[in-house]
Symmetry: C2
Subunit: 229 residues, 2 copies
């Protein structure tokens, strides 16, 4: 198929910055480029927006095609449109941010036909295009957002301990938090449900498990509640 326009127009792409949390690290999902330019370099998953496809759908589709991830909550981050950011031609890219529970997605990404892999956010390879700039902005946004939205809960398994939650926030914010104050605040949101279970198979006192009260969160969010951590 070929098509003609009166004036040249920029190409439009989407790129996704997908964060996941490991026992150890906050990670970001990258793919290795199979084509020029930047063939063999790591890059954010993404690609061209089809003319009959909404931006969000394009982001979800590209993410699924390139990494196998689906059902991910994607949020628009920023649109990058500097001249020369793609050596081939003028390309404007709408960047999206996503958060996933790493445990749910580790295998899929690793076994997909295309090479996709999780990298610790403070040990990423050189990226294609201006993707380092996009990634840096996404990480900044994540750090800001995590302070007033309980998005951290999205990154944990359904049942988790308060220490896991705290470690998660420490990884994202990249600084230590006080245990007592953290627990006070986390429980103070009223969004955690204490379960009648504790951790299994740990070589020390087992911690109580909690789950996130998603319904309550949605109710409060609708009513404009705030959630500083």
């Amino acid at each position: 198929m070929s098509v003609a326009y009166e004036h040249p127009r920029p190409a439009l792409t989407v790129d996704c910055v997908v964060f996941g949390l490991d026992e150890e690290d906050l990670k970001v999902l990258l793919i290795r480029r199979e084509l020029e330019p930047f063939r063999g370099r790591w890059a954010l998953p993404g690609g061209f927006v089809r003319v009959d496809e909404a931006l969000d759908d394009a982001a979800r589709r590209e993410l699924a095609e390139e990494t196998g991830l689906s059902g991910v909550f994607l949020e628009q981050l920023y649109t990058f449109g500097a001249l020369g950011r793609d050596p081939r031609e003028r390309v404007v890219s709408v960047a999206y941010c996503a958060l996933v529970k790493l445990g749910d997605h580790r295998v899929k990404a690793a076994t997909d036909a295309r090479e996709a892999a999780w990298f610790s956010v403070d040990d990423t390879p050189a990226l294609a295009f201006d993707h380092e700039e996009i990634f840096a902005m996404a990480l900044e946004r994540l750090k800001g957002k995590v302070r007033y939205r309980p998005i951290g809960f999205e990154l944990l398994p359904p049942k988790f301990t308060l220490s896991q939650l705290q470690r998660l926030y420490e990884k994202i914010l990249d600084r230590p938090l006080d245990k007592r104050n953290f627990r006070k605040k986390a429980l103070g949101t009223g969004l955690l449900v204490e379960l009648d279970e504790v951790e299994q198979d740990v070589a020390h006192r087992a911690a109580r498990l909690y789950r996130f009260d998603r319904r309550k969160y949605e109710r409060l969010e609708r009513d404009g509640f705030s959630f500083e951590i």
Copy 2:
């Protein structure tokens, strides 16, 4: 000039939501469309992005062409890419937000060859395309942003009184603020310079004039200061 591509691609536009402040109201700058679709309807100023033009430049250029405003601080807001938002063809629009001192710009906009006018934000006409959605998001963003960034200063003349500043914040936030607390905070930022002048020609005690210390603001902003109001 005509150009062919292998695949059809969305058209790319920019739209600008420009806020200004009046003695009375927070206003938004609209233009009346001269062409189909939505001919005669009011709309946000904006237009097509040229293939050799950065997004920010396109927004500044369109704003200047359509309303005569230049030298405006523009900030990217969000990118709107739903299907069917333009009846002609697929158009993706990068929306920008701008803040201007209304006094400086009132005449230019009104006397420009194209019809452009300021509307009170709570009395806008029906808008073309999905511009009402864009406008609503911009207003939300403005309300949020004004709380932790001293952007309010951009909306006043170079010399202003604390009452004017307070009224501005009250208009934007759409709620009354306590005078003493407001003055404490505003002066507490250290960003206001007290001048040796007072208002002229008022039928009551004249208020002291202040100016915004832009240099200090830029210095603090670079160092990651915060400015809750």
